[in-house]
């Protein structure tokens, strides 16, 4: 009879949880979301309210904070936040604009 190996010794192909399975997906972005704090409802009222962007963000890169923060390292730039924002407070600005600024 073959001896049953302990679980630790069985080789499995499993992934470890962590960000960035697809790399730094922020590099996919063509348009960058920028929050206009004068229009953003929680920022303007300094109150926990709205957060529609946080709710709909497919990648969960927007925080439910005042003001909402966007993790640009992983934001894919889909623009759902800008399309759904009831106050039209998120603008989608071309990435090339930021490259020249950073340089």
């Amino acid at each position: 009879m073959t001896k049953v190996k302990k679980f630790e010794h069985i080789v499995t192909s499993h992934g470890e949880p962590g960000p960035g399975d697809g790399g730094r997906t922020g590099s996919w972005r063509v348009l960058r979301p920028v929050i206009d704090l004068d229009r953003c409802i929680p920022a303007k009222r300094n109150k926990m309210a709205c957060f529609t962007c946080w709710l709909f963000c497919p990648d969960g890169v927007i925080t439910r904070t005042i003001p909402p923060q966007i993790n640009l390292e992983y934001c894919k730039g889909c623009g759902i936040c800008a399309a759904e924002c009831p106050a039209k407070a998120i603008l989608m600005i071309e990435e090339s604009h930021f490259i020249t600024e950073e340089e």
């Binding site: 949880p17 399975d21 997906t25 709909f56 497919p58 759902i80 759904e84």
Partner: protein, 297 residues
């Protein structure tokens, strides 16, 4: 009944890491993120080949924080049964098992295992995210692709056949809880997944999931298009609880409200550009008849 969840009472903790391989604007990403919040940390997922396998992480990084088992295409519900049996031996019956498949893994390839599990009364949640074609292999038609939609295997005149009504097939099995949801109504989805956890046997959720690359629309319109499908009356949100069907949320409101014409939905996607005016009129008539039946029931 539990009070409805709102944005501020939705759990803040994310169970999905950012930077997954899902396309920009993926409807499934929204569904996955929200439903995982409802399932909670004490859950195990069983996933066949699908866009979700890609989203959850290939190797060696996984973007999901929950334990997830990748199984063969036809065996989702059978594998979930096995996980349940193992949990029983380990005395971990508090753990929720969620089988999560695409429309192909549910309506076509996975249906025999699912049907068997329903008949045996296995205690897991089955979530079908319906993006209406085999998306991650390159948009081939599936059993739930709507009539007239262009796919890579129906490239000229669109799919000829009518799509399968999977929730009705599940209802015929007599399972306790069936619900339809949409990526565009995440709070409604959250409530339904939370509610499903309270029932015995297989719980089935069918989630309409817009796909920008497969359906042919811009990524920012994902939520808008899912909402249009509901507001035109093409896709209805309902629950079937102990064989009693009732419309929920936005679909219930549609009973008293004017529905948008279905052309509003069709014109937003390139997959419907092959539909003729007469075909659209025919579909509109079917939708009208369906809603008339709802109003009279």
């Amino acid at each position: 009944m539990n009070p409805k969840t709102d944005i501020l009472s939705l759990p803040e903790e994310e169970l999905v890491h950012p930077g997954s391989r899902a396309c920009s604007g993926c409807g499934l990403s929204i569904v996955y993120r929200i439903a995982l919040k409802a399932l909670g940390k004490d859950s195990i997922l069983v996933v066949p080949p699908s866009c979700l396998t890609v989203l959850q992480g290939l190797y060696p990084i996984a973007s999901t924080k929950l334990p997830s088992l990748n199984v063969t295409f036809a065996s989702t519900a059978a594998a979930a049964t096995g996980v349940l049996a193992a949990l029983k031996v380990l005395k971990r019956e508090h753990t929720t098992v969620a089988a999560w498949a695409g429309d192909g893994g549910t309506a076509d390839i996975g249906i025999q295992a699912l049907s068997g599990a329903c008949e045996r009364g296995e205690d897991f949640i089955f979530i079908c995210y319906d993006n209406e074609a085999y998306m991650n292999t390159g948009v081939q038609r599936s059993g739930t692709t709507p009539q007239g939609a262009l796919t890579t295997t129906t490239p000229f005149s669109g799919k000829l056949q009518v799509s399968k009504d999977v929730p009705a097939i599940m209802a015929a099995h007599g399972v306790e809880y069936i619900a339809t949801a949409s990526a565009s109504y995440p709070l409604d989805l959250f409530d339904k997944v939370s509610k499903a956890k309270g029932f015995q046997g297989v719980k089935y959720l069918h989630v309409h999931t817009p796909c920008p690359s497969g359906w042919g629309f811009e990524p920012q319109d994902t939520v808008k298009i899912g909402r249009l499908a509901v507001e035109t009356g093409l896709y209805d949100l309902y629950e079937i609880e102990h064989a009693k069907r009732k419309l929920t949320g936005p679909s219930k409101r549609l009973l008293k409200k004017e529905r948008l014409p279905i052309t509003e939905y069709f014109k937003t996607q390139s997959r419907f550009k092959g539909l003729s005016k007469s075909q659209m009129a025919k579909i509109q008539k079917q939708v009208d008849e369906k809603w008339e039946a709802y109003a009279n029931s």
